[in-house]
């Protein structure tokens, strides 16, 4: 079921796809896509998220909501890798007529559960989904929602946090891609979030913290969060924005900028080396 080396190779390929598709598009958000690659790979290829690429509408599937919708490339890379659509679509990202919009569009892309992009809304949607799916006590379908740390500045996130705890939504798992950066700089300088896990705990959630690039640790944390049924759980994943591409790592400037042809070549070379050349 879970094989860390398989997930790692999937994440490596996803990272290469991310920088390639953003370079081809000429715009997009590499930093927050690369920081989330190990999280999304663990969900889709680590046996955490129950899904069937051949049947995107399978009623028994778990649901994934990408609240940080600007990280669409990481989701598209995972969906293509899983086989929801052909890899040839990746080169059409952000182009007229593409099924791969700049931000996730559930009406256009197989495997995208709901459209996102305006920050702060995904956890509310995921909570509604969790409440709507839980019609009988035996229902074990889970809802995963990936948020950015900067996104937590949106007040609606905490409206949703209250709601999920109040209703004891044990089938809801929030994951925070805590990369520490937002467009204007460090989150701690733009608008300090304080202790994220403690905030969720104060709202009545169970919280876990994990290295967001340690795939076995991520797997264990997400699996534990999924099996916790007494209420909602958050996994705060400490990550590096731009992870895997040295010149993008921890640079707020790479939040929403496409690499040039030279930068792409350097990035792909680095990714090939750092991930053991998996392709």
């Amino acid at each position: 079921m879970f094989d860390a080396s398989v997930v790692a190779s999937k994440a490596a390929r996803m990272r290469r796809d991310i920088v390639e598709m953003i370079a081809a598009a000429g715009s997009g958000h590499p930093g927050g896509s690369l920081s989330a690659a190990d999280i999304v790979a663990t969900l889709y290829f680590g046996g955490v998220l129950r899904h069937d690429p051949a049947n995107p509408e399978w009623p028994e599937r778990d649901r994934f909501v990408l609240s940080k919708g600007h990280a669409a490339p990481v989701l598209y890379a995972a969906l293509a890798e899983a086989g929801y659509f052909g890899r040839d679509h990746l080169a059409t990202l952000r182009k007229l007529g593409s099924i791969l919009q700049g931000h996730p569009d559930s009406k256009k892309t197989p495997g995208v559960e709901v459209s996102t992009g305006s920050l702060g809304q995904g956890l509310s949607i995921a909570a509604g989904l969790a409440a709507g799916l839980r019609q009988n006590p035996d229902d074990d379908r889970a809802v995963f929602c990936l948020l950015g740390d900067g996104e937590l500045q949106e007040g609606q996130v905490w409206e949703a946090a209250m709601f999920a705890a109040h209703h004891g939504l044990g089938n809801l798992v929030a994951i925070v891609d805590d990369n520490g950066l937002q467009i204007d700089g460090a989150c701690s300088e733009v608008m300090c979030l304080g202790h994220i896990a403690a905030k969720f705990v104060a709202f009545g959630w169970k919280a876990a913290e994990v290295d967001g690039h340690d795939i076995p640790a991520l797997h264990d944390a997400l699996a534990a969060a999924k099996s916790h049924s007494e209420g909602p759980t958050v996994v705060v994943a400490h990550t590096i924005k731009g992870k895997g591409v040295s010149f993008m790592e921890n640079e707020a400037g790479w939040h929403g900028k496409a690499p040039s042809a030279d930068e792409l070549a350097t990035a792909l070379a680095e990714l090939a080396l750092s991930e053991g050349g998996v392709r």
Binding site: V114, S115, S118, I125, A127, G132, A160
Partner: protein, 309 residues
């Protein structure tokens, strides 16, 4: 006995739909007694979600319930459900094309004493520009029940505009409303009175008064502001040659604007728009405010008389 307000149809209709086997759920933001969704919550507590005072969460929780396959209605007042949560309605509900049915109450100036902060007169403008959104403004209690049923039965986002106060019934209890259809309630040849919501009753009164002055007014209920029944409107003004639109909404962007947009292209005729001028509301009793803002049968008669002169 004063007629029931359109908001009183809300909870009652949800209960009926649930009894009939429709998978309806409702999300409310601490106004369940005022909106009457409490009736539904009492009958079906497992299908009722009160999010507290958190309208943005209300809309997106409803969106999530819709993604889970449920038919999700939302409550609250028109000013909060549309204004405070506009991004949620636009970017999640409409952009994803979800089965979320907004049916906020306390629209328009007939909210009364709460004043301008709570009198939503821009909601039709905000809602009708959203791709995929259907906008219904029922004239009375019976029409509201039928409009809510239509919204539940038709896939996709809906805005059903409900009010706190009502002055007269227009329809029989068994009225069945069709989305996208305008209803000619009275035929006439000199002027078309196109109205929605509580202004339909005022337009019918105005037609009576005009008849005494030998002016034959055709009265149309344009409850379906979007989609608009262009054929019925064009056929009417082709016959009468003039139109007065009547709505409890700003004259900017609402039903009168929608009608003017299509007629200016399809069949331009002299037009007067009755509605709240470009100002906020103010405290007062509903009937006083109707007079204050120029929304009575008398004001419609004046506008129509000016046009036929």
């Amino acid at each position: 006995m004063s007629p029931k307000a359109t908001r009183e149809a809300f909870g009652e209709t949800l209960v009926e739909l649930a009894r009939e086997g429709v998978d309806v759920v409702a999300v409310e933001a601490d106004l369940s007694k005022s909106t009457t969704t409490a009736k539904f919550g009492d009958a079906y507590p497992e299908r009722f979600f009160n999010v507290g005072i958190a309208e943005q969460n209300m809309i997106d929780v409803a969106a999530g319930l819709a993604v889970a396959g449920r038919v999700a209605f939302t409550g609250s007042f028109a000013v909060f459900a549309t204004g405070r949560a506009y991004d949620q309605v636009r970017n999640t509900v409409c952009y994803s094309g979800l089965d979320v049915k907004l049916a906020p109450t306390h629209s328009g100036i007939t909210v009364g004493p709460d004043g301008g902060s709570h009198q939503m007169i821009e909601d039709l403008a905000l809602m009708r520009v959203l791709p995929g959104m259907r906008v219904l403004v029922p004239a009375d209690f019976a029409a509201a029940k039928s409009a809510l049923r239509a919204a539940a039965a038709t896939p996709g986002p809906f805005y059903v505009r409900l009010g706190r106060s009502s002055f007269a019934d227009v329809y029989d209890a068994d009225f069945v409303f069709e989305v996208g259809r305008a209803y000619v309630l009275r035929e006439g040849s000199d002027v078309t009175l196109a109205a929605c919501g509580i202004m339909v009753a005022e337009a019918l009164k105005a037609a009576d008064i005009l008849a005494e002055a030998n002016v034959s007014a055709e009265v149309i209920d344009v409850a379906s502001v979007k989609p608009l029944d262009v054929d019925t409107l064009v056929a009417s003004v082709a016959k009468t040659g003039r139109i007065v639109t009547c709505e409890e909404h700003s004259v900017l962007g609402g039903m009168g604007s929608a009608v003017s947009e299509v007629l200016s292209e399809a069949c331009p005729v002299p037009t007067r728009r009755i509605g709240v001028a470009d100002v906020f509301g103010t405290s007062g009793e509903p009937a006083e405010l109707m007079e204050h803002f120029g929304l009575t049968a008398r004001h419609i008669v004046e506008a129509a008389t000016e046009l036929v002169r």
